[in-house]
């Protein structure tokens, strides 16, 4: 029997010194590797795009809600007495009240009401300015 080390070294010599192995369809394989790279590279971008869309949607909803809340609480829905008192007031710098809205008004109705009140306030301002002259 051969020396034990020779057995292994002889065997290794038979199977080593070989060329690098290759896949059968090399070009197709390289294409598929590159496709895989493409998917990986675009995946984070696609995920990011999804997040941007979601954030935009949330921001739009929040903006509409904030505008509604601004008009609703900023100008107050006061009872008719206070509103009447305010409308009789000569202090034109005070924030106008919105007598034409109530708790069920939509943002669009609040906005329309605000425009109407501001218009009236401007007319009133002009009237008092004329009086001063």
């Amino acid at each position: 029997m051969e020396n034990k080390d020779d057995i292994l070294d002889d065997f290794i010599a038979r199977i080593s010194n070989q060329e690098l192995l290759s896949v059968d369809d090399e070009d197709d394989f390289i294409d598929s590797v590159m496709d895989g790279i493409g998917e990986e590279a675009s995946a984070p971008v696609a995920r990011l795009r999804g997040w941007v869309i979601a954030l935009r949607a949330v921001a739009s909803i929040a903006a509409v809600w904030l505008v509604g809340m601004f008009f609703y609480f900023g100008y107050g829905v006061e009872d008719e007495g206070v509103a009447a008192q305010s409308s009789l007031s000569h202090n034109t710098d005070a924030a106008p009240t919105l007598p034409c809205v109530d708790g069920n008004s939509t943002p669009r109705e609040i906005l329309a009401c605000y425009c109407k009140v501001m218009k009236e306030q401007k007319e009133r301002q002009a009237f008092y300015n004329n009086l001063k002259i």
């Binding site: 029997m1 057995i7 065997f11």
Partner: protein
């Protein structure tokens, strides 16, 4: 042709054609190691794919002072070890053992095909741990230098020596059991 650092520079700036060149130049090396580790063409192809994805994603962290082939072999080797850790080894088929015996009896050396390598590894690596198999593959089958093997495996020279010793003993015993050297 551009040298490797030029190609890597282009890849870093997102040049896909340059990366294709990188794949073309190095996929055989990765495939060879993966096939000799995993004994499966399909798994070896998956490892090549995964290795190049990691290379693409981590090119910025590649240290230019290192040999690129060593870096890519390190990635591939770790993926192979992970794959071997996941797998349960199946006993070699009698056909595989017969193939090894025929190979041993053959007078001349011939270029082994992928399937033949798969059979051979199935028989040889049966009783080896993934790390022993990696060291044996790099040192004996790929004939890499000791420093390169240390870099790839992350083992010091002493541990490599021990793993290689056990791997050689194990394979030798298997060869003798299969009748080699009689």
């Amino acid at each position: 042709m551009d040298n490797i650092s030029d190609i890597i520079g282009k890849c870093r700036s997102g040049d896909r054609q340059a990366f294709r060149l990188l794949v073309k130049n190095f996929h055989r090396l990765v495939f060879t190691i993966a096939l000799k580790m995993l004994a499966s063409e399909d798994l070896a192809k998956d490892i090549v794919q995964e290795t190049f994805i990691r290379v693409w994603q981590n090119l910025d962290s590649y240290d230019d002072s290192r040999k690129f082939s060593t870096w890519i072999c390190t990635i591939a080797s770790r993926l192979c070890i992970d794959e071997l850790d996941k797998q349960k080894r199946t006993a070699p088929m009698p056909d595989d053992e017969r193939f090894l015996a025929e190979l041993v009896d053959a007078d001349t050396q011939h270029q082994l095909e992928n399937k033949e390598w798969a059979r051979l590894v199935n028989v040889m690596a049966q009783d080896l741990s993934p790390k022993q198999q990696l060291v044996f593959t790099l040192v004996q089958l790929q004939e890499m230098e000791s420093t390169e093997v240390q870099e790839i495996t992350g083992m010091d020279a002493d541990r490599i020596k021990k793993n290689l010793y056990v791997a050689r003993q194990t394979i030798r015993e298997r060869l003798i059991r299969l009748g080699y050297g009689k």
